[in-house]
């Protein structure tokens, strides 16, 4: 059960690490077929307008330009999207955000491509734009999709339990606040890219940096009127994804270029600036929250109204908001909740999936309110959280019963035992000149998987090779989270083989079986479970087939070990290599599948959400941040960040630490550095010199405390935890800043000017 911090450093070496460390691993960006064409996009550059003129004649006539395609050249629906298909591949009449694509150029060289793109003449008739989600819902707001029945309201959701408005009225104390979190850019290092060609057999063959190769086929097919079964997508290791490569980035445009390229390979790579303009973003959100409690600190009621900025296209906005609402009560016991959300279309950049998927936004609000409550009651913020921490069998804010191992209090205790907490008073007292120090602690949670509605399913294919080794057909892309290595480790353990006996085929829709997207903290759990089932079948098969060769009438007594099946009774053994030669190919394959269990009796709420509500499995944790504030500049230095997680059994401590460190770094970025400076639909911080992610000299040595826990339904007892670490730093830094400087942060990122103002150091 959760409680003890794991100290055994059981670690699974990363199967891909040495190839990456020696620069041999080939990412999608590294595939440049000889004699390939280059494709690029002309983008709107204006947030909302009618496209009144598009003259591509000069572009077409440019030396080296092979084709210039516009909306008229797009077959099919010209609509891409994951669930809702509302995003044009190439815009015809109107553009709805600055990154909208209006023309596609295909050329022999990158120079000719650039030249061709620059010669496209586009004229626009600007339309009034709408740039915040609350305004977008006003009756006279400009319509992003005119004629749409619900106007700019993309999705509405209500999750409630008990009677929160009434209960609030009876609470001893009520605190309220309005909080906001900004758009966030993924800044994966490998830019969106791919190569594609139409083979002589008429198959669209694509290699792309993608988190969802299987779904991509359907997105492309729907958009361009192609047959999804005649599309092959290969997904090599990604140079980062974080959600930003979930949903077509280059795919539909690249496919369009490829089908117009006479069978030649076409390559498309977005520039960094282009990715800022055209790529997906974390949804900016604002949250209005009220929290009521008894005088002794017991939480009683919570109301929350959230507005999410979807940009002009749906992507996964509804699902993101749903997950946000589901998490809006934090990992706390709150009898009455009313959690309401509106997702609105705007002319800002497109909101899409990003690690933490709506939970980042919601967590910030509820954790800030817990701090407000602690201040009002004169309570220590850690103690207040511990008092209200969810326990097994209790119902969470969305009405779902917490799983048997839930121990949020233990997660808090783990960070409270850390010297960064126990030694905080002495640390604060010894602050150097012009420095104020503070410490904050928050609780975190993140559900795993797709939730109800869409089956969170995976099929795994495992092959005994002719040489007696094994081949795992991985279907969920590895974007750095290390799932590929985890699968090798699991299979090695399940089949009693060394890791070196396993080869991994990275996702290829032609030979692997669908297993859903690399997202939602699900891949190791869902595909892992499917793989373990296939391993069980393989073990049985190997023993049964070996029994024939060993003349053994009791295959159950045979022992499978490295490279061999042995009969302990006779002492005879059959090498796996012999079985590999003996069995025909169909018999060397084991295929099995797994569907993540869902909440069995879902609460009668959140009815608007067909997909993604509610979730059954949660990981929990806590986060401590220690900050130093400079009184002269307002700059905040993150001195310590300690995160505890309870995420089932730990297959590889290194793997858990990697995820927590990286997620916390992105959370710290959101808290202190990453400011898109969005205005009028344009990110003024539109490149890496202005949109600042933390460097190595901006972050502390993150600490990760993995608690002893177990997920009985998980492969080897583990639970997904790729996202949870991102939630801590925002609210923990905010609490620490209050501790250090009396600053009450209501939005992220916290800027030095905000801090200076709070210190009274800015002229009013």
């Amino acid at each position: 059960m959760a409680g003890n911090v794991m100290t055994t450093r059981e670690t699974v070496p990363r199967a891909d690490a040495l190839a990456k460390a020696t620069g041999r691993e080939r990412y999608s960006a590294d595939f440049t077929p000889p004699d390939c064409l280059w494709a690029g996009v002309r983008r709107a550059g204006t947030p909302h307008a009618l496209l009144t003129g598009l003259d591509v004649a000069a572009a077409r006539a440019t030396d080296g330009v092979a084709a210039v395609l516009t909306r008229a050249d797009v077959p099919g629906t010209n609509r891409q999207g994951i669930v809702h298909k509302d995003q044009p591949v190439l815009c015809g009449q109107r553009v709805r955000h600055r990154g909208d694509a209006i023309a596609l150029v295909v050329a022999e060289t990158r120079e000719a491509l650039a030249e061709g793109l620059s010669r496209i003449e586009a004229t626009f008739s600007p339309l009034p734009g709408v740039f915040d989600p609350a305004s977008a819902l006003l009756p006279d707001a400009p319509a992003v999709h005119p004629g749409r029945q619900d106007g700019n309201l993309l999705a509405y959701g209500l999750v409630e339990k008990g009677d929160a408005p009434a209960a609030l009225a009876g609470c001893d104390v009520v605190v309220e606040g309005e909080f906001s979190t900004p758009m966030q850019e993924h800044v994966f290092l490998e830019l969106p890219n791919g190569v594609a060609r139409l083979t002589p057999a008429g198959v669209l063959d694509m290699v792309v940096s993608t988190q969802a190769p299987f779904r991509d086929r359907f997105e492309i097919a729907h958009a361009l009127g192609l047959d999804p079964w005649r599309i092959r997508v290969r997904a090599p290791y990604l140079g980062g994804g974080f959600g930003g490569k979930d949903g077509a980035t280059v795919q539909c445009l690249l496919a369009l270029a490829a089908v117009n390229a006479g069978g030649r390979w076409v390559k498309m790579v977005w520039s960094r600036e282009e990715t800022f303009v055209a790529g997906y973003k974390r949804h900016a959100a604002s949250m209005k929250v009220r929290l009521g409690a008894a005088a002794d600190g017991r939480l009683c009621a919570l109301t929350c109204a959230m507005h999410f900025d979807a940009g002009p296209y749906a992507h996964l906005s509804g699902e993101i908001m749903a997950l946000g609402l589901e998490h809006a009560g934090g990992p706390y016991r709150i009898p009455h909740t009313r959690l309401e959300g509106w997702c609105a279309y705007t002319n800002n950049p497109v909101g899409g999936a990003f690690r933490g998927f709506g939970v980042v936004q919601a967590s910030f609000a509820v954790e800030r309110l817990m701090d407000a409550l602690a201040i009002r009651l004169g309570r220590d913020p850690a103690g207040l959280r511990r008092q209200n921490a969810l326990r097994p069998g209790e119902v969470n804010a969305a009405g779902v019963t917490a799983g048997p191992g839930t121990d949020v209090a233990a997660c808090l205790d783990a960070v409270l035992a850390h010297p960064a907490w126990t030694g905080r008073e002495a640390w604060k007292r010894s602050a150097p000149p012009f420095t104020r120090r503070g410490v904050g602690v928050t609780a975190i949670q993140n559900a795993m998987g797709y939730g109800r509605g869409l089956p969170d399913a995976a099929a795994a294919k495992l092959e005994l090779t002719k040489q007696g080794t094994f081949r795992i057909y991985n279907a969920v892309p590895d974007m750095g989270q290390g799932n590929a290595s985890a699968f090798v480790a699991m299979a090695a353990r399940a089949l009693s083989q060394p890791a070196a006996a396993f080869e991994l085929v990275q996702p290829d829709t032609r030979v692997c079986l669908p297993a859903g997207s690399s997202s939602a903290s699900r891949t190791t759990y869902t595909f892992g479970n499917a793989l373990l089932r296939a391993c069980r079948a393989m073990r049985e098969k190997l023993c049964a087939r070996a029994a024939l060769a060993l003349l053994c009438d009791d295959p159950a007594r045979l022992v499978l070990s490295a490279g061999v099946v042995t009969d302990p009774v006779s002492g005879k053994a059959v090498p796996l290599a012999m079985l590999g030669r003996m069995l025909p190919r169909d018999d060397r394959l084991c295929v099995d599948q797994f569907v993540m269990p869902v909440v069995e009796n879902p609460p009668d709420t959140g009815r608007q959400f067909k997909l993604g509500f509610p979730h059954r499995f949660y990981s929990h944790g806590a986060c401590l941040c220690a900050v130093e504030v400079d009184e002269l500049t307002g700059r905040v230095h993150l001195a310590q960040c300690v995160t505890s997680v309870a995420c089932g059994r730990v297959l590889s401590l290194q793997g858990v630490e990697q995820q927590v460190h990286g997620a916390a770094a992105q959370g710290a970025g959101l808290a202190l550095f990453e400011d898109p400076a969005l205005a009028g639909g344009r990110m003024a911080a539109g490149d890496l010199s202005t949109y600042l992610i933390p460097t190595a000299v901006d972050l502390p040595d993150f600490a990760c405390l993995a608690l002893d826990d177990d997920e009985p339904t998980g492969p080897m007892g583990l639970r997904g935890m790729g996202e949870i670490g991102i939630h801590g730093p925002g609210p923990a830094v905010a609490q620490a800043l209050y501790d250090a400087a009396g600053m009450w942060a209501v939005r992220l990122p916290v800027t030095p000017q905000d801090v200076l103002e709070a210190l009274g150091g800015m002229p009013s």
Partner: protein
Amino acid sequence: MSRPVELHFTLNGAPVCIETRPGRRVLDLLREDFGLAAAKEGCGAGECGACTVLVDGEPKLSCLMLAAQLEGRTVATAEGLGTADAPHPVQAAFAAHGAVQCGYCTPGMTLVAAELLSRNPDPDRETVRQAVSGNLCRCTGYVKIVDAVLAAAKAGQGEKP
């Protein structure tokens, strides 16, 4: 488009001669003409370090170098630092200590780290962080990268890259 010129330089220990447009980026020259794809393009503006190569032993941004600048120089890429069978101690340490997640920043990081250790065999954590401060990583939070460099320092005492 300007005339191609002949360039002579040393690449990963071997002398090379290539004819190319002098104004091409070194990043493109290495990736496309020499098939050395370890140096990556993350931004094209010198802000991320994914394109790092060593020129005369100094880490530089190959996205901001012109091919002509390589004339007579010694260039080393991550591929030249070591192989899977014979990795450089820094590469081995990165792999062993969890410093590699998506791996896109890794070639640049390892070159910078190797150069650091070649002149400072026993750096502290802060010195390592300063050395890699021009190489962005979005996956690791940098902790295990620092761990790996210190482990390599302990193990290898800085073999020359």
